[in-house]
Amino acid sequence: MMGKQEMVSESTAPTASTQYAHLRTLVIIPAYNEEASLGRVIQQVREAMPGTDIIVINDGSRDATEHVGLKHGVTVASLPYNLGIGSAMQTGFMYAREHGYDVAFQVDGDGQHDPTELHELLEELVSTSADVVIGSRYIEDRGYITPAARRLGIVILARLISLLIGRKVTDPTSGFRALNRRAISFCADDYPFDYPEPEAVVLMKRAGLEIHEIPVTMNPRYGGQSSITPFRSAYYMVKVIMAIVIGLLRGRPRLVGG
């Protein structure tokens, strides 16, 4: 029922994962000024998962991000101005819920995630009791090199979050994720607005959602600018830790429906 990209791609769909063909899946690609890499990401997602629908959330880009998305025949939801990745992702989750998707994936528009690993996320999501599956760079050493300072920051966050939620998390900043209906619905209602990933892990866990991590490989960016600078990294740490701690002082987040 959902439009052209499904019809176009499914008519010629090879049987890469016919096992889960009954599931309606949506790949959400948040993109802010990603004209350089977006086309390639879309193509790779199509090749890896021919049956899936794709939506690009164009987060107020000033470049041709919207045009690139439309040219590749995917759904594009363009925010009128830049809201930050958290609110962009929430828009994607709102779309996923509105259209009744079974599974939503998050794949960043900068090409850092390897779409061929979407199947592994899906496999873990469907074959276990997980509500959310996160692709982690740090479970196995697959050669992803993180600058020492950033690695330290991620380790601190990972330890803190593991401690808080009582389950080991190695890569809470990873934006390579798969969510089932319960998790989609929760995130559509309540999602942090910027630097959302670590906070979302805590929120989702506290809402009673089960979170698994699987090892993945990540690439360096294809193009565009990373949004991370030293000042922002420091702000990131302070903001995220404060948000998590204050979040704990709020009531338990509610999971509506399910």
Binding site: G3, K4, I55, I57, N58, L70, T75, V76, A77, S78, L79, P80, Y81, L83, S87, Q90, T91, M94, Y95, E98, F193
Partner: protein, 127 residues
């Protein structure tokens, strides 16, 4: 009672003038009633304390442990100003949340319009 010094006149007239400006802005609908209340309260307190410089202000200053009463006026004014600023942050937060939600709905409606347009185009081609 009204043998005020120049500085005392200033301390009465400035907040009084601003009090009237706020009322006038509300009258012209340039300021909403609910946001004007804190302003009117702030200026009202400052006016009363400045007029009752020798009675109420002295007592308040003594209560606060402030030796020179006019300083108490500044301290109280500053405190009320902080409350006003906090109210602004709170209002801005609410507006930011609302504008975020509005933007998200615009984006989703945009996608839906495009979807409907392309289906309409397909239907037209079939005819």
């Amino acid at each position: 009672m009204f043998s005020l010094s120049r500085s005392e006149w200033i301390m009465v007239l400035v907040p009084l003038g601003l009090f009237i400006v706020v009322l006038e802005m509300v009258r012209r609908r340039r300021l909403r009633e609910d946001y004007s209340l804190l302003w009117l309260g702030t200026f009202g307190v400052l006016i009363v304390l400045a007029i009752l410089r020798d009675s109420l202000l002295d007592e308040v200053a003594e209560f606060m442990g402030i030796f020179y009463p006019p300083t108490a006026l500044f301290v109280i004014g500053f405190g009320l100003m902080l409350v006003l600023l906090l109210q602004f942050s709170s209002v801005i937060t609410r507006l930011a949340t609302q504008s975020k939600q509005a933007a998200q709905h615009i984006a989703l409606l945009n996608a839906r319009v495009r979807e409907l347009e392309s289906r309409l185009a397909e239907l037209d081609e079939q005819e």
